[in-house]
């Protein structure tokens, strides 16, 4: 009996993306509307399914990094489809500052956050990865540190910097961006 060849990395990413999307749709169809689902739950379930089907996924850390990226893509696309960017752009500066801290408006913020994160990625890819893991995949400090192979204390400091940097980007007056 021969083992199937492990899929190429790009294929793996597609597979994770498709599985997460499918899972999200499945959940959403079954559950009653109005409830919310944490991204973390989705990532865990996707891992369980894919790890069963494809042995290559037994490296959980590798999986999580790709899943976090997919979640970012799925969540941002969703928010964009709902016209979040337009609502976000319509906020004046005072309410913008408030919205950053109010969980209810997270959706509206996502497209802007995604753009800022892309800029951060160009300056420091590692910090951008941390944001994907902590925020988009909902991993704890310890889980994220394990996924990136660093100490929780280091991760925490880098996470603080990434957060402060993004906070500044998102509260910056329109047009002042470089």
């Amino acid at each position: 009996m021969t083992r199937p060849d492990p899929p190429a990395p790009a294929e793996l990413a597609d597979q994770v993306y498709a599985e997460l999307k499918r899972l999200a749709a499945g959940y959403l169809r079954r559950e009653m509307p109005g409830q919310t689902l944490q991204a973390t739950a989705l990532v865990h379930e996707a891992y369980l399914r894919l790890a069963d089907a494809t042995p290559v996924w037994q490296d959980r850390n590798h999986f999580v990094a790709i899943a976090a990226r997919s979640m970012r893509q799925i969540l941002v696309d969703r928010a964009r489809a709902r016209g979040a960017a337009k609502r976000w752009a319509g906020l004046d500066r005072v309410s913008l500052h408030e919205s950053l801290h109010a969980a209810a408006d997270v959706d509206d913020m996502l497209p802007a956050l995604d753009e800022a994160l892309t800029r951060l990625e160009q300056i420091d890819p590692e910090h951008a990865r941390i944001v994907e893991l902590r925020f988009f995949a909902g991993l704890t400090v310890e889980e994220a540190a394990a996924a990136l192979g660093m100490s929780p204390a280091t991760l925490k400091r880098r996470w603080s910097l990434a957060r402060a940097w993004l906070h500044r980007e998102l509260t910056r007056p329109e047009g002042a961006r470089l």
Binding site: Q38, R80, A164, W165, H167
Partner: protein, 483 residues
């Protein structure tokens, strides 16, 4: 300004972030002397670090709505552009039919509904029916597509605003109301002729396109839509149930059979709202609204809008009759009523009834001229015959003039009695006109020698009166009443 080196900023920030404030300030001072730009950047970021609060603390939650299709997604030949609404069955998207390059609307059927075979079958048959209607006032259904486990309806994309939005901006002028009634009635007629009823007509289901045309959406889909709503009550907000009930006819509320006349009731409510800005049966709750639909007569529309043509106002009232038998029996009948009676001023002058009215008014004018002429003849030639002729002409034109005024009034106020009145008075009027013409003609002869010009003019007037009654009136009457 150039950015300070990121690595320096990062290292400085990360070494300072966990320090106590005093130590941090000291280190920052030292850094400022060494590399002022890095220090400024780090200080700014530390400031944000302090304000960060709950920012990015919670991972984004995914609301458990149906999966949203993202712009650019391909569903068969349809490329999703954006979401444009939410219906009883699911989301509605604007998409491009990549084969034909035209915009279409995709009405998605929610997964839990698409899984029910009975609903699938019903949707298929209703979509087939709806696709058979072709009318500019009805949004066309192109196809019912099934791709994987996704079921959706492809319809014409109507760009514009809902009639609800138009009503909110203000009440309609009489002309706009008449043309709204005409457009909607002719669209309904086209569907009803094929045996298709809408059953869920409401301002939210009617679009005014950017070109100003009205288009009815979701024809024939009401039953499938309703099934969707009852399957997921949580999808319906409290207000939407009221909205749906608010346009139901009494027979619908009572669960009796519905037909084309049910749509006419809803149309009556919509036109009433366009005219007055308020729903004829509005009440604070759904239950109270349905009770009003079943039992209460709405405020007489002419009281709220005295400027409406009487015919149009009564056509709307007739649509709102509780019993289907008392309404118009078809949209075509409503259309005829609106066309014949509510025609706005300019159009009325051109229609048959308009010409008939004009004729009556002109003849009354001729009577006054005739009486004046007879008076003048009597003054110029003060003989016995001319005096008698004046008296006779005066009495006859007074009677005939009043009779014609009476007909005009009857036509305006009691249209249904007009045929009887015309029959009763026809002979009197014709006799009066002929006698007046003859008397005036003979009367003019008396002054023919002294004032030939006046005599000729008066004779011409006499001939005119005769021609008006014997030749012109039969044709204006025929144009107005014999169709």
């Amino acid at each position: 300004m150039t950015n300070p080196p990121w690595a320096d900023v990062r290292d400085a920030f990360e070494s300072l972030v966990d320090e106590n404030p005093q130590a941090a300030r000291k280190q920052l001072e030292a850094l400022r002397r060494e590399a002022p730009e890095v220090a400024a950047e780090v200080e700014a970021l530390l400031g944000h670090h302090e304000q960060v609060g709950a920012f990015l603390d919670q991972p984004p939650a995914i609301s458990t709505e149906e999966d949203i299709l993202v712009a650019g997604t391909l569903l068969g030949v349809y490329r999703i552009e954006r979401e444009i609404g939410f219906g009883g069955m699911g989301r509605v998207y604007l998409a491009t039919d990549t084969r034909l390059g035209r915009p279409v609307a995709l009405k998605m059927v929610r997964g839990d509904l698409a899984e029910r075979p009975s609903l699938r079958a019903r949707l298929r048959s209703e979509a087939q029916l709806a696709a058979s209607i072709s009318h500019p006032g009805i949004c066309s259904v192109h196809a019912l597509e099934e791709i994987g486990d996704t079921l959706f309806l492809v319809t014409e994309y109507v760009e514009g605003e809902t009639l609800r939005a138009v009503i909110k901006r203000g009440t309609f002028s009489a002309d706009a109301l008449a043309s709204t009634a005409r457009e909607l009635a002719s669209a309904l007629e086209a569907a009803h002729r094929k045996g298709i009823t809408h059953r869920d007509l409401k301002p939210e289901n009617i679009m005014r396109t950017t070109e100003g045309r009205l288009k009815i959406l979701d024809f024939g889909l009401a039953r499938a839509e309703r099934a969707g709503e009852s399957a997921a009550p949580a999808m319906t907000l409290p207000g939407t149930v009221v909205g749906t009930i608010a346009y139901m006819a009494p027979e619908q509320l009572e669960g009796r059979p519905v037909d084309a006349r049910t749509d006419l009731f809803a149309l009556g409510i919509i036109l009433y709202e366009c005219a007055t800005g308020r729903h004829p049966f509005s009440a604070p709750t759904a239950l109270a609204t349905s009770a009003r639909i079943l039992e209460t007569e709405p405020t007489w529309i002419a009281e709220l809008r005295p400027d409406l043509p009487r015919g149009l106002a009564s056509a709307i009232v007739r649509c709102l009759a509780k019993s289907p038998g008392e309404r118009f029996q078809s949209a075509a009948a409503l259309l005829t009523a609106v066309d014949s009676q509510s025609t706005p001023a300019v159009a009325a002058a051109m229609s048959g009834v308009g010409w008939w009215r004009l004729h009556q008014i002109v003849v009354i004018g001729l009577y006054i001229v005739a009486a004046t002429a007879a008076w003048n003849i009597k003054e110029w030639d003060a003989t016995r015959p001319t005096r008698w002729a004046f008296l006779a002409v005066g009495v006859i034109v007074a009677i005939a003039g009043i009779t014609r005024a009476h007909l005009l009034f009857t036509e305006r106020a009691y249209t249904h009695r007009l045929p009887d009145e015309r029959r009763r008075t026809g002979a009197i009027l014709r006799g009066a006109d002929v006698v007046t013409a003859v008397l005036l003609f003979l009367d003019a002869l008396a002054i023919a020698e002294g004032r030939p010009v006046a005599a000729v003019l008066i004779m011409a007037l006499a001939v005119g009166v005769a021609v008006a009654t014997l030749l012109i009136e039969p044709s204006t009457s025929a144009a107005a009443f014999e169709r």
